[in-house]
Symmetry: C2
Subunit: 325 residues, 2 copies
Amino acid sequence: MQPVRFIQYGLGSIGIGIAELALARGHRIVGAFDIDPAKVGHPLSTLLRHPAAPADVRIASPDATALAVRADVALHSTQSRLSQVRSQLESLIDLGVHVISTCEELAFPWHHHSGDAAALNERAHARGVAVVGLGVNPGFVMDVLPVVLTSPCHAITGITVQRVVDVGRRRRPLQQKVGVGLTVDAFHEGVAAGRLAHVGLPESVAMIADAMGWTLGAIDETIDPVVGSDRRVIGLHQRCRGMRDGAAAITLDLTMAVGAKDQRDTVAVDGDPPLRIELPGGVQGDQATCAIVVNAIPQILAAPPGLRVATELPPRAPASRSLPG
Amino acid sequence: MQPVRFIQYGLGSIGIGIAELALARGHRIVGAFDIDPAKVGHPLSTLLRHPAAPADVRIASPDATALAVRADVALHSTQSRLSQVRSQLESLIDLGVHVISTCEELAFPWHHHSGDAAALNERAHARGVAVVGLGVNPGFVMDVLPVVLTSPCHAITGITVQRVVDVGRRRRPLQQKVGVGLTVDAFHEGVAAGRLAHVGLPESVAMIADAMGWTLGAIDETIDPVVGSDRRVIGLHQRCRGMRDGAAAITLDLTMAVGAKDQRDTVAVDGDPPLRIELPGGVQGDQATCAIVVNAIPQILAAPPGLRVATELPPRAPASRSLPG
């Protein structure tokens, strides 16, 4: 594809991975933003380990003046909650650039944050840009993949996805996010305060229901600690269900724990015919999120304006094929 | 979704399955066409076992006058070769309806039939309609599914898909198509004459290469009989490879035989990270093709005009979401 000019908004570990991969694909970075004062002012090349990282781009604080750069797309990777990122997204939309964000709640905000979703959608329509929340989860393993898998089915009565992730060899912030090392009491406090746990299962459930045309009675979620032999927390087990006619039509089951056995992803579609796929070893999360974001650049450039959903993006952007020779 | 008015063009076993499922989904059949004189003139309800099959629609020969019905989409299921169906597709395009066809070579005609592809594309553009070839294979298991699976990958060096189908309990025409009961000599004659073998592997290889942005040096295909204990053919083994820089970057391996053991589909992406999915039991072919066609109706109605490719259709049609209450 043609190289595009991109803004990297957010330079944490995921944001850096996204920017490095986009550079490796030949795209051109025209602006880099982070709210962390320790990063602001430094040349981008101090953070990005890629020869194409330009020497003249410095990390800036995302105020209106600094943001006013000409770009095709913004790759946004800061926080998980829509309330935390809404104004960030608005400033990018107002700039007139398409936006791909790893904000988990943006993956499908229409159900739990319908007011925010409608406002962002309207704003994106007004500026003629497309905005989408993408990532490995939500955005791929527990929603897009099962929806793709329903394509050969006549009737679908239920969808179950199981994901087992061994966080033992993953980055420390992820381990902290699932409570590794805490007491059980501290775990429950952290969950209650919204500091702990994976964000996005209810969004995936709502995205699947939307794609299936199902109206759900309720979406419920449980978050339990996985406890090691020394009574310390080694991770968590989350389960989120979409209820339809009193039964669980959608069940997403996620275990993220140190040393979790049999790491894998499993998608089961109960229907006619029933289908089941297994990904032995699972999809590696952080790397996958970076690739999903960068691989979706052509699709978001070709998408209709508005707040889009991962299931609405094709695997490949529609081509304007010219007459072959 | 809103019910659409559809034309069913082709009332063989797949065409009947497609029409029955579309009726079951609440769509309205406004025209039914077949070239078989034994079917023409009979009420549609004699062929379709669905209560919604209208009593007043008769199967017609697809001449220009009969075809002149107002419809949103035509579901086309006749032959496998583009040369056999091109004029049929043209008559539907000229009618100004979107077209979903199970013609295997239409799945990706840009490589092997680039002149036909360009002409159909131009015609569809001129009438503002979208045309696409869909089915389980080509169109899903051996192309769309592997392309979807590359989304979380940073770099991809190779794609391998293996499909094992036990044709023992499948419809007789499919068994005949893979040579069941023939001598080995008759099998080779049938393959040479183009009467036998699965059509579509080179199309899937070309579709994957297109999605990956790969330029292939060559696409080669081998078709060998699977021989039973009585020296009669019980099926076939086909392998199609897409060569890149002298090595097979894409390998599609298909066994369709009576009593084939370990029926399954396996997709392996060699890359960073490597990914592998297994569908134990595989995807049932005929039912799956009917579902894929009918499930894609909203997507083809929303697609940009022209000759489209399965990888360009999203899992779900982009929604024009209104402000929630």
